[in-house]
């Protein structure tokens, strides 16, 4: 339902330095500014990449988002191919 808001949050973090800083300070607080479902918020805060992908986050939003945390490609692909972690 709120996939749009979830992707908006991720795109904001990827592209806007102020949002990125706020997200890294507290993902939970930052996420409160977006209209997310409880499941989306939980997947985001716990950085459950497989779940975020399964929810429909676009790969070209999600992969750069994981690169901000230096997630290796092998781990990323394992997460999105294997579903929820």
């Amino acid at each position: 339902m709120s996939l749009y808001a979830l992707q908006k949050l991720i795109r904001d973090v990827n592209r806007k330095p102020a949002c990125r800083d706020a997200y890294f300070q507290s993902a939970e607080t930052f996420a409160a500014g977006y209209d997310l479902s409880a499941e989306e918020r939980a997947a985001l805060v716990s950085m459950n990449v497989g779940e975020l992908y399964a929810m429909g986050v676009h790969g070209l939003l999600l992969r750069p988002f994981t690169l901000l945390r230096q997630m290796p490609e092998e781990d990323y692909l394992k997460a999105i191919r294997g579903g929820p972690q």
């Binding site: 908006k8 795109r11 990827n14 592209r15 676009h58 790969g59 070209l60 992969r63 999105i80 191919r81």
Partner: protein, 279 residues
């Protein structure tokens, strides 16, 4: 007739950011292809370049996204990726040509959007880095929505490309067109790393043959089966429309595993008549 130059090239970020990861024979072949196209572009004396390029969430988000967007800015900056190993540059725009393209499109029944602010990412900067490294020719970027479904149909891209070709052909200036993107790849998605060599070769053969009817029939399902990044080939289809059936030459094809994509390059040496030598 002043369409002075045309080519289509892949724009994989690996070509600059992790170039050394590719096997040297493949790298040499790709660098050789770029060198040939750069020579052709320089010899064409093109005054301005129309760049048919892809959006990667750099400029647009789902709050507002159109099928095609023509840049009307006086200047553009890029790349946005600090890791691309391409120097940051400012590239002049050509608002006058952009407006002419818009008006011609509206007159012909295609309605692209337009923007006075656009940033360039690898999709535009990698080809410019190899083909026009001095970044001194003005450009008009045309961004294609190749990532948010539904993408424009190949048929529509071909029709839009025809308009672009007409504008270039009737211009008193020498205009080059560069299409960027593709070939098969699935960046950030489950089939990342899979390269569909057969799809790539078939598509390039259709481009080389100027088979506009076949190109217009490429469906979203066909592109999707070759990976999400294969939609970038819609810009190649538009180039085929601009060239209106003129034949080309597939000068490079390499399936480069470390860059996770099929890399292709098309030359169109017959796109324009040889420059007239006066005196």
């Amino acid at each position: 007739m002043t369409l002075s130059f045309a080519c289509a090239v892949s724009h994989a970020p690996g070509m600059t950011a992790w170039a050394e990861a590719a096997p040297p024979p493949q790298r040499d072949c790709i660098n050789g292809g770029f060198a040939r196209l750069k020579d052709e572009l320089d010899a064409s004396r093109s005054e301005v370049l129309i760049l048919l390029t892809s959006e990667h969430w750099a400029n647009f988000f789902l709050d507002h996204i159109g099928a095609f967007c023509i840049g009307r800015a006086a200047a553009y900056r890029g790349p946005i990726e600090p890791w691309l190993k391409v120097d940051k540059a400012e590239i002049k725009g050509d608002p006058e040509l952009a407006t002419e393209l818009l008006e011609a499109s509206y007159d012909e029944g295609v309605e692209p959007s337009f923007a006075y602010e656009l940033e360039f990412d690898h999709g535009t900067m990698v080809p410019l880095h190899f083909l026009a490294p001095r970044m001194d020719r003005p450009v008009v970027p045309i961004f294609f929505n190749t990532l948010a479904a539904p993408q424009p149909s190949a048929k529509r891209c071909l029709a839009f490309g025809r308009v672009v070709g007409k504008v270039a052909a009737r211009s008193p200036r020498r205009i080059g067109i560069i299409a960027t993107g593709g070939l098969s790849h699935d960046p950030g998605e489950r089939h990342h790393g899979v390269i569909d060599i057969e799809f790539d070769r078939r598509f390039m053969a259709a481009m080389a043959g100027g088979e506009v009817r076949r190109l217009a029939r490429y469906s979203r399902a066909e592109f999707a089966a070759a990976g999400a990044g294969a939609f970038e080939l819609l810009s190649w289809v538009a180039l085929a429309g601009a060239l209106d059936g003129r034949k080309g030459e597939a000068i490079v094809y390499e399936a480069v595993k470390p860059w996770a994509t099929g890399i292709g390059m098309m030359a169109f040496p017959d796109a324009a008549p040889a420059p007239q030598v006066s005196g």
